[in-house]
Symmetry: C2
DNA sequence: AGGATATAGTTGCTAGTGACAACTAATGGA
DNA sequence: TCCATTAGTTGTCACTAGCAACTATATCCT
């Protein structure tokens, strides 16, 4: 078995395939874990993402929130509407721009958000507690790197169908 | 800084938090990447998952498909209905059980599925091509292990809200 | 055999997701 | 001042998702 780098192309293809398969599994499992954990708490996954954005980023406009969530303004507007109705955020006119809204998480929203994050983190702990500490640290580094690479590549450009020369 | 394992509890907490944060980022980015890549091809993410299940698992009943997708029978039934209308799968009475359906991917469905997987894999390759081959292999191993652990922990038990003693 | 029970799948209902397009209102530059 | 731009909302369409009710078939028990 060659450990050198001279067969780079086919290795890369194989690695891409393997990583794709492994990441697909991981992402799907976590999606369902998130859904099952979050949905016990009165809000949906998208609504939870929105609250997390607001908790971390502080008060922001609807457009900023939409960018953060990588969603259309209209979708974001309705998500915010639902969350306001449920009492987890506040919407008020922006003091410096009468067109814009200032969206802010409420204390109730913060509490909910923290409870959900605690639950998710507990799950996380259960999942990794069997791992050797050194392996755990390595895993964290790897996942961070992958996330960083993915963000650099696909991160903040949610443009769909920019290139599509062939059709089904 | 202690490199021994005698402070296991707080290390585990910290690692759980770090891994939670890193994985959250990764999962969200991949969710959006999947959505943007798949939605260029006439079907939704859920529909694509269903086709992938059918491509890998071969013909199966609706209940089996629902289990695989971790979705309710009713949702699965409607997903299958849409995919049949679009010509990507076939539904027929099961030869051995007149209650059941035999759901099978069509050639057209297979082609679509492969095209999407190729696109996703291309993305994957672009993301990891900057990594050293040894690092890539290590990353694949780590992701696989995490997926395996997650599957063992949360995998095939999509029961929601089994324990919930406190309310908001 | 025949009735009770269980299983497979569909359909009605409700709520939410998500995009696009059309719209209102306010801003800001020429 | 007027016009293009920007912020957000609303209408519409298609799909996602779960629960509950329903039909049809299968299986189990006596």
């Amino acid at each position: 078995m060659p450990t050198t780098t001279h067969t780079g192309k086919s290795d890369l293809d194989r690695d891409a395939r393997d990583l794709y398969a492994a990441l697909s599994d991981l992402v799907r499992l976590y999606q369902f874990r998130d859904r099952d954990t979050i949905c016990c708490h009165d809000i949906s996954v998208t609504q939870c993402y929105a609250l997390q954005s607001l908790e971390r980023g502080g008060a922001m406009t609807l457009t900023a929130l939409a960018d953060d969530l990588m969603l259309d303004k209209s979708t974001t507007s309705r998500v915010a509407e639902t969350l306001e109705r449920k009492g987890y955020l506040r919407r008020e006119r922006h003091p410096e721009d009468a067109r814009a809204m200032r969206i802010e998480i409420t204390a109730r929203g913060k509490t909910l958000c923290q409870r959900i994050e605690r639950d998710l983190m507990d799950e996380e702990r259960n999942i990794i507690e069997s791992l050797d500490p050194a392996v755990r640290r390595a895993a964290i580094g790897v996942v961070r790197d992958l996330a960083r690479l993915a963000a650099a590549r696909i991160g903040r450009q949610a443009a769909c169908c920019a290139v599509d020369t062939e059709q089904v």
